[in-house]
């Protein structure tokens, strides 16, 4: 690595001064948050150290099965997290739809990204496969989470409108159109906003990391553009799959709203 400053343990420890400052402020002002701050900074440190060693191991072993295992763990964690984070409980059918749209949407965009855009080889190269999968899955998870809440709220709040449309002979698809569109819109909006602010309001984590580790900013930006587009694709794909399959779970095969 050209000219990169390797951080010693001592240097990293010195950064904990920031936490110490925060603790002092909390103590002086009498805000009872010291325990949370301490626990979360220790958690962050341990998690990252652990991930660091896991990644070193994965990168060195270059094992396709391990790469796939990591992918499986990330997908499962994301799906579990979406279901947990939903404000109201999901029906079994809707849970399955969440899982299906996550897996289909992220895998399609991941495969396209790795093999068409970056063209990695071997196909399972963990150095590319894992971080990119992580970014696509993580962002899609946030998108579907928003979409789930909006779809559930919309079908509840707009129930009379949806039903009035059915009474007039609308198909469930037309009757739910506004709810579905608004769920899709709110789910992809943060991703679109992120594109707009990119590079001006903030430098994204991936790019910052690459630049700090000595990669030329131009290369880092090329990656950033590509990954941002990949994220947009993956989020849109997962969310559109989810809302398109999801609204159907509110109707039965007689085009009636299901009663709960």
């Amino acid at each position: 690595m050209n000219g990169i400053i390797d951080l010693s343990i001592l240097q990293v420890l010195s950064a904990y001064i920031f936490i110490a400052v925060l603790m002092i402020i909390l103590r002086v002002r009498g805000i009872a948050r010291e325990k949370e701050v301490l626990i979360s900074s220790i958690r962050m440190t341990l998690q990252l150290i652990l991930v660091g060693y896991v990644l070193v191991y994965l990168f060195e072993s270059m094992n396709p099965f391990l790469t796939l295992l990591v992918l499986l763990v990330m997908e499962s964690f994301a799906i579990y997290n979406i279901i947990q984070r939903s404000k109201s409980p999901l029906s079994k059918e809707l849970k399955n739809i969440v899982a299906l749209s996550m897996v289909l949407g992220t895998l399609t965009s991941l495969l396209f990204f790795l093999f068409v855009v970056i063209q990695i080889s071997p196909w399972y190269d963990p150095q590319y496969f894992i971080p990119i999968a992580g970014m696509l899955i993580g962002n899609s998870m946030t998108g579907i989470s928003l979409g789930v809440n909006r779809l559930l709220d919309g079908m509840k709040d707009q129930k009379t409108l949806v039903e009035a449309a059915l009474m007039l002979g609308a198909t469930p698809k037309e009757a739910a159109k506004e709810v579905v569109d608004s769920a899709f819109d709110s789910a992809i909006l943060p991703t679109i906003n992120a594109m707009v602010g990119m590079g001006i309001v903030f430098l994204p984590g991936m790019m910052t990391g690459q630049i700090l580790s000595g990669v030329s900013p131009v290369t880092a930006i090329a990656y950033q553009i590509a990954i941002m587009l990949g994220i947009v694709g993956s989020v849109s794909l997962t969310v559109i799959l989810f809302v398109q399959l999801g609204y159907k779970s509110f109707f039965n095969d007689r085009a009636q709203l299901k009663t709960d």
Binding site: T160, A165, L166, L168, G169, A170, R254
Partner: protein, 211 residues
Amino acid sequence: MFSIEQITYKNIISVSKLTIHEKEITCIVGESGSGKTTLLRMLNHLISPDQGRITFQNQDLMDIDPIELRRKVVMLPQTPVIFQGTLRDNLEIGLRFSDKSSPSEKELAETLKRVKLQKDLDENAQNLSGGEKQRLALGRILLMEPEVLLLDEPSSALDDETESLIIQTFVDYAKEHSKTLIMVTHSKALAKNFADRILQVRGGEVHEWNH
């Protein structure tokens, strides 16, 4: 037109036998909470009875495409529903939902007149008063020209005079175009005046009411 046999829905309503005739004006009366809306919703196939069967033109509702059925048997909900947009949007939306062609400017103006709305077609429909919204929702259905009109308390938000005028309009329309009109109403006087047949919902059962 409709024939109902041995149906029950939850423990709200049960009907042993009931026929609703084609091209007649049927009024449904009964106390609040007696199950009038529930009965109407079953005819529109928004809900299905737990047991028994309902037929429309001698065909079991369960064997008819639900969308096709609702395009012939249109229902006006008890609380008028206004969609986003102008009066024009709200009138046209019924035809759009049922895949029919858009009405002409003349038809739209005509419809407003028939439901006694003196408003601009391009006004925002959300600003209408409660009674005006109800009339707009009625106009929407009139424009669709369905075979059967299911109206759930179509005049609940109207004053006596407007109520008579509007109901008269629908009754005339139904007679003139040989449509079937099924109407829930809280007013027995209104039912007596206009109905060919009155059904009373009481204690979870439906009986013909002879006056």
